[in-house]
Symmetry: C2
Subunit: 370 residues, 2 copies
């Protein structure tokens, strides 16, 4: 009881809970009724994608106060990209009209293998970045706690706090975008591997004689089935002389072919598009079945741009997954598309600060004194 | 202090610890020195393999008192195989001269997907068993606690209690035998999946256009690289007219070709054997790299008959693993061959009872009163 009172006092002190009235009981002193207050503190999240940098500031219930989307321009130098992240952070913080002292920190999600402690991007094939410091230049601009994590892990955090992962002990997220990544929550905690580098599902070798991957290997899932692999496949087929409605959709500019263009054409029954989509889905389905056979998670949530294809994707995919999952193993594993929308990664990145807040327990002073 | 004294009294009561003397300190009452007593209680373990049923009774330090190996004769009915398991259990219990009341229970490891609660084999492709009750017929014979588990999980338990997994939070075992299976220890606990069916690494699809697997799928690791797949490959090549020293080694009886025969010929430089070994190792290496990329365990321990090939296997395998593991990810993952010898699965199966003993904590009465 004294311990609980101490915690409650502290939470009240930081305006994280409030008294909402008195409870009714038959005899004795009526208890105070408490409620979590989510809109007195705020967290900032950044989703650094290959196409867009998407930055949000939200309250502790994931209500977004301000959002900015800037083009990543990944072909520029890392410094220039990082400058845009900083610009975007300044923008959402200033435009949200939130007291600076009520911001708990910044979470940043980006694709690739990160050294979280050092705050560096060790290797991001999507960005072609190797050993790039991310934490340091951003820390110089903001006197706030900053957490840097792999974007698919950020998505898993988003699902755990605010999505389909709520209340689940174990689930997996698979990010189907320009690249392919994964993250697993086991026993309620993000699984990170022996040195924090787990999750590279995109570099699972499935087709040994497959195409060269950006990582330097051959036949990786990412080289067979990512959005960029799909665009490449479509281009190769078109250059070989095959007819397709995709050509019109991109005004004959092959560089403009995106996974979205291909999915749309496939939905219209375009044979070339269907061929590309079917191959991509085949290997994604195999990868999902492989993970199900080995890990048997109860839930696999698909994330990323490709999930915009909706039922068209999930129906075809489920058929492949069923075919490749071992009998008796797959019956308890559901595969679903995320329901969190396009902000899942930014919300998830910001959620690392919420997790940090509640983990600190009795030492919140440390968090709030800046 | 009172709690600790209560636990110590209880452990002494069950002769699990003993006083070895008095410690020396500068002042105050000298403390009692205690020691774990491993040879007052015993556990029984069975490794039900496709070729042999290997049964042991051991003390709590894995010292084996009695061991019996019987042929499995997997082509017989499940009832007949189970009768041999029971026969073997009676043999080691009677022949060990151990007081029945000092036996904590029986652990049984066997390949396939098990329902541990019900004590049934749901599906074992290696045995071609489906929905076979194992616990019930054995329970009728022995009034002892009986734990039934997948054999690779048993191996992982063996490594955790008595092998290279001691003190490790996270590691993986891969069983390379007649079939291929896996087990993962995460945060010190055996990971089991949402309904207990994780670990089917043998049914990871790697070669989509690969051979038919016993599970009904195509291109599974097990169909490409298990000991039985290697024997099949060798037979196919020999039937196609290729010359090999394997033929002499088996007196021209193709049914007698085992992985061991092929590894021995490969070590002698036999081209056909080298071809078969190289292909098997290629896919095993890819599977290990795939698991490293996704899970980044600190240690992967290889188990099973194939590990008898020793350095010849591990050197070639490491080369493939290195080639397929993503840059930055693999540097913290060691791949080793088990050092526990041929009893690892039986010791591991028995260890489930040791784990159970110490988990029971203050309720040991329940365990000891039979």
């Amino acid at each position: 009881m004294p311990t609980i009172m101490k915690i409650i006092d502290e939470l009240m002190n930081y305006e994280l809970i409030k008294v909402t009235g008195k409870g009714e009981i038959n005899r004795g002193k009526p208890p105070q009724m408490l409620e979590f207050v989510s809109n007195n503190h705020f967290v900032v999240g950044v989703d650094v994608g290959t196409t867009f940098i998407s930055t949000i500031i939200m309250d502790l219930s994931a209500r977004i106060l301000c959002r900015q989307v800037l083009p990543t321009m990944v072909e520029q130098t890392p410094d220039e990209v990082i400058d845009r992240i900083i610009e975007s952070l300044h923008f959402v913080i200033s435009n949200s009209d939130v007291e600076k002292s009520r911001i708990l920190g910044i979470g940043i999600g980006m694709p690739g293998i990160l050294d979280n402690e050092a705050g560096t991007i060790l290797f991001s094939p999507d960005f072609a970045w190797e050993n790039i410091g991310l934490l340091e230049p951003i820390s110089k601009e903001f006197s706030l706690p900053i957490i840097i994590e792999n974007v698919t892990r950020a998505m898993a955090m988003g699902e755990k706090w605010f999505g389909e992962g709520r209340g689940l002990e174990t689930f997996m997220c698979i990010n189907l975008g320009f690249g392919i990544g994964s993250a697993i929550v086991i026993d309620g905690e993000l699984y990170r591997g022996v040195s924090g580098k787990s999750g590279e599902l995109g570099h699972m070798t499935i087709g040994r004689d497959g195409p060269l991957c950006k990582c330097g290997n051959y036949g990786c899932l990412e080289a067979l089935s990512s959005a960029s692999a799909m665009s490449n496949s479509a281009r190769v087929l078109i250059k070989s002389g095959r007819k397709t409605q995709i050509l019109e959709a991109v005004n004959r500019d092959l560089d403009k072919i995106e996974a979205k263009t291909i999915f749309n054409a496939a939905k219209d029954g375009d044979p070339l598009a269907l061929e590309v989509v079917t191959q991509a889905i085949e290997y994604i389905g195999i990868a999902i079945a492989n993970m199900t056979n080995v890990l048997e998670p109860g839930l696999i949530i698909l994330e990323g741009g490709m999930t915009k294809a909706g039922d068209f994707l999930s129906v075809k995919l489920q058929e492949v997954v069923d075919r490749h999952t071992m009998r008796y193993v797959g019956s308890h594993t559901r595969v679903i598309l995320t329901r969190m929308g396009e902000n899942v990664a930014a919300i998830g990145a910001a959620s690392f600060l919420i997790k940090r807040l509640f983990e600190h327990g009795g030492n919140a002073d440390e968090l709030f004194s800046r």
